[in-house]
Symmetry: C2
Subunit: 122 residues, 2 copies
């Protein structure tokens, strides 16, 4: 458990923006200017595999990282690529997970939509 790793965990867990690796790197440099980009990527992968954080994929943009907390889904604006969260009830979550039987681990629900800003500007 190095200080670099602690810093990266802290950034992801205190962020509400689903940051990309580049954004995490940029934020990390503010606290530790000598940190290397490879260190950020390696630790993000390590933490993801360890189940401490979650990786999110959206079309046409770099991977994003999310903390693990009460289950939530994502709203993906097809116009601007912005991402917001929405709450998923445990009941709905269980209903979805039932489709994969015993071996289900978790689920990601993403709704493509038009966000307020993009809908307003048309």
């Amino acid at each position: 458990m190095t200080k670099q790793r602690k810093l990266i965990i802290g950034i992801v867990n205190s962020s509400r923006n689903h940051p990309t690796a580049a954004e995490i790197y940029s934020e990390a440099r503010r606290m530790m200017p000598s940190i290397a980009v490879g260190t950020v990527y390696r630790n993000l992968k390590l933490l993801t595999n360890a189940g401490e954080i979650r990786k999110l994929s959206f079309p046409g943009q770099p991977e994003r990282y999310d903390r693990i907390e009460h289950p939530h889904g994502h709203l993906y604006c097809v116009a601007c690529g912005g991402i917001n969260d929405f709450d998923i009830s445990p009941a709905l979550r269980d209903e979805i997970l039932a489709h994969a039987g015993e071996r289900a681990i978790s689920c990601d629900v993403t709704i493509d939509y038009l966000c307020d800003a993009c809908a307003g500007s048309k």
Copy 2:
């Protein structure tokens, strides 16, 4: 509507494997050896924007393309990265889409799980 575009539409619509751009290119070359990789990417983007095919994103792998048919969700094996489909009832789909209000367009439901093969080999 060029022959290249027709070929690419045909490959995606006749495939049940959520192929990547590289796989589509490779298949396309079998029918038309002179086709260029840039042509495949450009047409896939065009067809996606036109709503004729659908783009899927999964962590750690290139983008995949899927035909548009009766709504279905995806099972993503966290061990091998393999992807399978599962059916989603219209009722469940509507229940999910309700979370985004009027401006919802579509939804992607992905369940992380262990596929039969990966669960068996442990």
